[in-house]
Subunit: 193 residues, 2 copies
């Protein structure tokens, strides 16, 4: 989706400083959020305060549609990872977009399919595989978007929050994977090979 188009339509940009919350679980969805700049994480938090990263959204991407489309309260928090600029598109405008912009409609379908693929993959991991296997799976998944020789810009804590593991387990796990030669690390950094 072309963000500029939305701005041209007169939709206003809103700024969210790092760590500010865009929406919370339980809120009734009213908008779909398009990211002009910045980065957003979508997280659920358990009763005991454990965070799970449901997804990370970057410049040019949008989030919050599923809850709006099926008209159910949000399950997750969305929080700015960096200072971000976001356009909130209301329900009517969003439905217009789907109806009148076939390209957007197709893009949405592909986007939802991609997220579904990721979640299916992670569900299988969390349901059936043990720590090291899980770890290797997200690491490889994340390495897809990394150039050869570059390193993963993700902390062990973030890996933990994406896999449902604990930091200590991730630290020990990456060590084991590196020893087994399943990943490459340099000074702790995980490198795409």
């Amino acid at each position: 989706m072309n963000i500029q188009k939305l701005i041209d339509k007169g939709l206003k940009l809103k700024s969210y400083p790092k760590d500010s919350v865009i929406y919370e679980p339980g809120m009734q969805p009213r908008y779909v959020y398009f990211i002009k700049s910045g980065e957003i994480r979508m997280v659920t938090v358990s009763d005991e305060g454990k965070e799970f990263i449901q997804g990370v959204f970057k410049t040019g991407q949008y989030f919050g549609e599923p809850a709006l489309l099926i008209n159910r309260p949000y399950l997750a928090f969305t929080i700015a990872n960096k200072d971000s600029q976001i356009i909130a598109v209301n329900k009517e405008d969003f439905f217009e977009l789907i109806k009148n912009e076939p390209d957007f409609s197709m893009d949405l379908i592909r986007t939802l399919s991609n997220r579904l693929f990721y979640k299916s993959m992670m569900l299988e991991e969390l349901a059936s595989e043990k720590a090291d296997h899980r770890l290797l799976t997200i690491i490889n998944y994340l390495l897809n978007d990394v150039a050869v020789g570059e390193n993963l810009k993700v902390t062990r804590q973030e890996l933990a929050d994406m896999t449902g593991l604990r930091v200590e387990t991730v630290i020990r796990g990456t060590k084991t994977l590196a020893e087994k030669g399943l990943i490459r690390t340099i000074k702790g950094k995980i490198i795409k090979v």
Copy 2:
């Protein structure tokens, strides 16, 4: 989507006897499958042979689109839970459907959103919550489609395969939940109240 329309278009119906496999992980997707009758389960199987139920699809529903749309090999098995009749719609016809039938396009978007909602919910559970909490969550989710007074037509093994738990854990867990009054059971059957 109206299945009859697909039949009228000359697409042929194929029969799958109970327990037969429609597709397997690793296969390149070529069709989207519309269920005329019967029931299909989508499962992933770990290296150690543990099954995880990714979803169950019934008469009138379709499955297999995400992999086709993003052009990635299947992650899961799809297996007939009962004798089933299915129409396989090829890629071109499926894209036609999306382009030319705006109702279908919207239905697809809603369907994908619903599945995403379910998977986000389960991911949070598997990542962060303990056995009994997980159990209560799918039980309540499944009870949505059940009339008051009716019981859940799902075995403990199936609950286990949806939550990543073991049968014994599910058996002990449902007992605890019933004792705490969080669910109602009659002779082991879980009743919607």
